[in-house]
């Protein structure tokens, strides 16, 4: 699940065009001077550590990396990385990142957002950034709660959730960020979890390597306001039978001894998790993240349960090549110059119908 990145000066991937660092950097170089201010035990710490940990591996110049965030606990992230950072306003990070990514091909642009920031107030900007396949990497910290505002339910909270704003339980269906992203034509959609540093790092590197909009949903624990959200995934005994790792080209098996597997029921086409023993090896679904048709990825996302979670696939659901908005926007400029020749402001201003008063 770890992707090694080619030399940035050569590669055609998501980081193509971003200048390479002169020499190796270590994680300390990525620590800013700001004191980290999350609650003790917050999952955000683990994610920060992972990001600071692999940033040097990207081999980029630090000054060419920008983290843009909205508002929320998660959105404090940029302050703690010694790169350029913009802690903007609630829900708007993808929009702000758009202007930056389109005008600056030499930057690696990251968006850090929470489930409320990304899916509640910012839902529209998110789906449009995905649709346009903007070359940015979006880290969606999903703690299934509004943390910064002290614990209201979010668009990913389970039905019936009792919070400050829902004393009798919430009544909205939650979004599945993966399903939503696939419905919005996303070209790279993945899910990982704060508690698995290796998986987290692997997925994030792959996301960075993808040229186009990468959405990574990160299950993130909020011990203060939603501590039990991911228990099944944290607890040693249940974790392995709860998380379904998706590996491209591999049959989908899980459980400590791979005793469970995922099959697709032929008539309905629905995916089910079963005891591996009960099915023939040939029936086990082999994951293909590179299919143009997102339907299989979408089907797999529906293995996620949205109540008190005890089951969810993690890994890369979809990863397909598609021209990016920003590359094409820049190509149109190049093309226009090629076609119409160098800009001539004087000619532009005088136009076709000018006259002279002597």
């Amino acid at each position: 699940m770890t992707t090694s990145l080619p030399d940035p000066t050569l590669r055609q991937d998501g980081l193509h065009g971003v200048p390479a660092a002169d020499g190796p950097a270590d994680r300390k170089a990525y620590k800013s001077d700001q004191e980290v201010r999350w609650c003790p035990g917050c999952g955000d710490y683990a994610i920060l550590a992972a990001v600071q940990g692999f940033m040097p591996d990207l081999g980029l110049r630090r000054e060419n990396i920008v983290f843009v965030s909205g508002i929320g606990c998660a959105a404090r992230f940029p302050y703690y990385l010694d790169t350029f950072g913009l802690h903007s306003i609630h829900g708007r990070a993808p929009a702000i990142a758009t202007g930056l990514a389109v005008t600056r091909p030499d930057l690696s642009v990251w968006v850090v957002t929470g489930d409320g920031d990304a899916l509640s107030i910012g839902g529209n900007h998110l789906i449009h950034a995905l649709r346009r396949n903007l070359n940015i990497t979006i880290l969606l910290f999903n703690n299934r709660i509004y943390g910064l505002t002290k614990g209201q339910y979010s668009p990913t909270s389970e039905i019936g959730k009792v919070t400050k704003s829902t004393p009798m339980g919430s009544i909205d269906n939650p979004f599945d960020p993966v399903s939503l992203a696939l419905g919005a034509e996303a070209t790279f959609v993945a899910r990982t979890i704060d508690s698995d540093r290796k998986h987290l790092t692997g997925v994030l590197k792959a996301a960075a390597a993808h040229r186009g909009a990468s959405l990574v949903e990160i299950y993130q624990n909020c011990p203060i306001f939603n501590d039990d959200a991911f228990v099944a995934f944290k607890d040693r005994d249940t974790a392995e039978s709860a998380l379904i790792p998706l590996e491209h080209g591999e049959p989908v098996r899980f459980g400590s001894e791979g005793e469970y597997a995922v099959i697709r029921e032929p008539s309905s086409g629905t995916f089910f998790a079963v005891e591996a023993a009960d099915v023939d090896e040939s029936q086990i679904h082999v994951h293909d993240a590179h299919l143009r048709d997102p339907s299989a990825a979408f089907g797999l996302s529906k293995l996620t349960d949205h109540g008190q979670m005890h089951r969810a696939p993690i890994g890369i659901f979809r990863q397909v090549e598609h021209p990016t908005y920003d590359d094409q926007a820049r190509e149109q400029i190049t093309e226009a110059r090629a076609k119409q020749g160098d800009p001539d402001l004087e000619a532009l201003l005088s136009g076709k119908d000018s006259w002279v008063v002597a």
Partner: protein, 622 residues
């Protein structure tokens, strides 16, 4: 036959027809001929809010007014001297605006029972004598056009379509307009459709010849060219001048231009125009909404581009939260609002000046931004360059307030010498700007220029200047998050002081007070410049001394504005709102401003303002 030729100093013509009749094109062509001929001119298009209301109905009427003269004029004129009406609805919708004795040329072809009814006429106005105050020419333009173009084998529908060119030809003859430009125009326009091309040219010529030959038109009129400063000229609308100004701003700053915009009337044309000029390093992004439009523009500014967003009133409301972020980030940003009739959806295709206070105060907290407004269509070019200068120099969002009248109205524009346009230096930060006591070199994102109070603009990609900024209050100098009470008070005042400091870079207010003896000052802002000027002229012509001044900078005001106001007994401020500038002036200078306010979705008329000015003058001078 030879025709009598009559000299005129000025003429106002209005072309009116159904949305489908191509009146905007007809007007634009007549304007181009007139410009080429050398008259001074001013135009006012007027289209329906509906895309295409049912043909022949009042809501479907589209018109274009052009005012041209042998002297410099300031407005599209009040009451037309000539109305060209292509159908009953066009006649009914416009006849009440004409001056008594005006000429009306009607295409009688559509004056059928049914069409009269659709226009709301019970009786045929051509027969019931209701038009007796006017000189009416009844001509079946449609049939004559169809006849004139039959050789080209068009469908009857397409043939009839050319009637606007017939009308144009006729009017071109009446006012001795040059015909070549239009013939050339039609040749290129319909290059790909020869039949249409020939038909339109034929119709145009036929119209001209009809004037030449028919008895109906005994007189031709001559309006001599207007003396104008030498130079190269073109006719230009406000939105086009704004778009060109933005392209020029990119050129003068050496920055790429990034426009983030969501379509909205009457601002969409700026997006359309800029999308054509990619080779000038202009990227246009049609965003999912207004918030994304300004957000993307702000992101581009953070990256070192010239971030621009264009919109109209309702869109500006949506941009306010992000504009407030821009105030906190202290980054250059151009926010162009082409005002329209409000509130809410209001009157999308009509003009108004009622967003001034929204621009000033529409954000949470103390979030001041400079505000600049153009005074005429061509002035949109200069005004947006001034807005850019302020935005870049002071690292601040600037609101540019145009309106529907400027956006679509046009006038001759004397082209600037590029060499006369002052470059604007983005002066990006390139390294540390402070040495710590321990001798360490530091970069402090909120360490200010003592004169402008501007902070450094350090863009990503600059090694050693990595920093993080956001919308939470920031500590002075370092830009780190700070909840310290005294620091907040300081920062709030500093942001205000920075915007106030812009005044130091603004020239003194130009007051036009010919003999310096006026006691009445007429002060305006934005698109009222033309009507006010025309009104003032009329009153001066009567020997009454009147001073006129016009504000380009609404925030901050020119430093000497207070003194100027003190110099006059009475200050009249005409506005197309309920008195927004007047309120700001009263609050700041405690001067008892006299407001004249109309919110009709239309520009003021010169005569109307002349009456108001005269009235006030009588009070003062008696």
């Amino acid at each position: 036959m030879t025709k009598q030729v009559k000299q005129l100093d000025r003429v106002i013509i209005r072309f009116a027809g159904d949305s489908g009749d191509g009146m905007q094109l007809t007007g634009a062509r007549f304007t181009a001929e007139t410009a080429a001929f050398g008259n001074d001119l001013s135009t006012l298009p007027n289209f329906p809010a509906e895309i295409r209301a049912p043909a022949g109905t009042l809501p479907g009427v589209s018109s274009f007014q052009v005012h041209f003269a042998d002297f410099d004029i300031l407005t599209p004129g009040d009451a037309p001297d000539v109305l060209v009406a292509m159908n009953p609805a066009a006649l009914r919708a416009n006849v009440s605006d004409l001056r008594p004795g005006a000429t009306i040329i009607v295409d009688t072809h559509d004056f059928t029972k049914r069409n009269l009814a659709r226009a709301g006429y019970d009786a045929n106005p051509l027969e019931d004598g209701s038009l007796e105050d006017f000189g009416v020419h009844e001509v079946d333009l449609t049939s004559m056009t169809v006849e004139a173009v039959k050789e080209f084998g068009l469908t009857r529908k397409d043939a009839a379509r050319a009637k606007n060119m017939f009308a144009l030809g006729l009017l071109s003859w009446m006012y001795g307009r040059p015909t070549e430009p239009t013939v050339e125009f039609l040749q290129t326009r319909f290059a790909s459709a020869p039949a249409l091309r020939d038909a339109n040219i034929a119709a145009f010529r036929a119209g001209w010849n009809f004037g030449e030959t028919t008895e109906a038109f005994a007189i031709r009129y001559e309006v001599k060219p207007a003396p104008m400063p030498t130079g190269r000229y073109r006719n230009i609308t406000g939105n086009l001048a704004l778009a060109y100004g933005i392209v020029a701003a990119g050129n003068l700053t050496g920055l790429d231009v990034f426009l983030g915009a969501y379509p909205i009337t009457p601002a969409s044309d700026v997006l359309h125009e800029l999308s054509k000029h990619k080779r000038f390093g202009v990227t246009t992004f049609q965003a999912e909404d207004e918030i994304a439009g300004i957000g993307a523009a702000l992101g581009a500014s953070f990256g070192g581009a010239l971030g621009v967003t264009t919109t109209s009133g309702p869109g500006l409301s949506l941009k306010m939260e992000t504009l407030g972020l821009g105030v906190m980030l202290e980054l250059p940003l151009l926010v162009c609002d082409i005002q329209r009739g409000g509130p809410s959806t209001g009157l999308p295709t009509k003009t108004e000046q009622a967003d001034l206070l929204q621009a000033m105060f529409g954000r949470n907290g103390e979030a001041p931004v400079p505000v600049v407004a153009p005074r005429s269509p061509a002035d949109c070019f200069d005004a947006v360059l001034e807005a850019t200068r302020i935005a870049i120099t002071y690292r601040t969002p600037v609101v540019f307030l145009s309106d529907g009248y400027l956006a679509n109205g046009s006038e001759p524009w004397r082209l600037p010498e590029l060499s006369d346009l002052a470059p604007i230096d983005p002066a990006f930060a390139t390294g540390p700007n402070h040495t710590a006591d321990d001798g360490a070199e530091q970069f402090l994102p909120y360490l200010r220029d003592p004169d402008t109070l501007a902070r450094p603009w350090a863009i990503p990609g600059t090694a050693g200047l990595e920093h993080r900024i956001g919308g939470i209050e920031k500590r002075d100098v370092t830009g780190d998050i700070s909840y310290d009470p005294a620091n907040h008070d300081l920062m709030v005042r500093t942001r205000q002081a920075k915007v106030d400091a812009v005044a130091k870079s603004i020239p003194p207010l130009e007051v036009d007070d010919p003999d310096g003896d006026a006691k009445v000052l007429v002060l305006g802002w934005g698109s009222t410049y033309g009507p006010i000027g025309a009104g003032v002229r009329r009153v001066r012509a009567e020997g009454v001394p009147i001073a006129q001044a016009h504000l380009r900078h609404l925030n901050p005001f020119p430093s000497d504005l207070g003194d100027v106001l003190q110099r006059y007994d009475r200050v009249l401020v005409p506005e197309m709102n309920l008195g927004q500038l007047a309120m700001l002036l009263r609050a700041k200078y405690l001067v008892d401003i006299v407001g004249y306010n109309k919110v009709r979705g239309l520009p003021f008329q010169a005569a109307e303002l002349a009456d108001v000015i005269r009235g006030l003058a009588e009070e003062v001078y008696s």
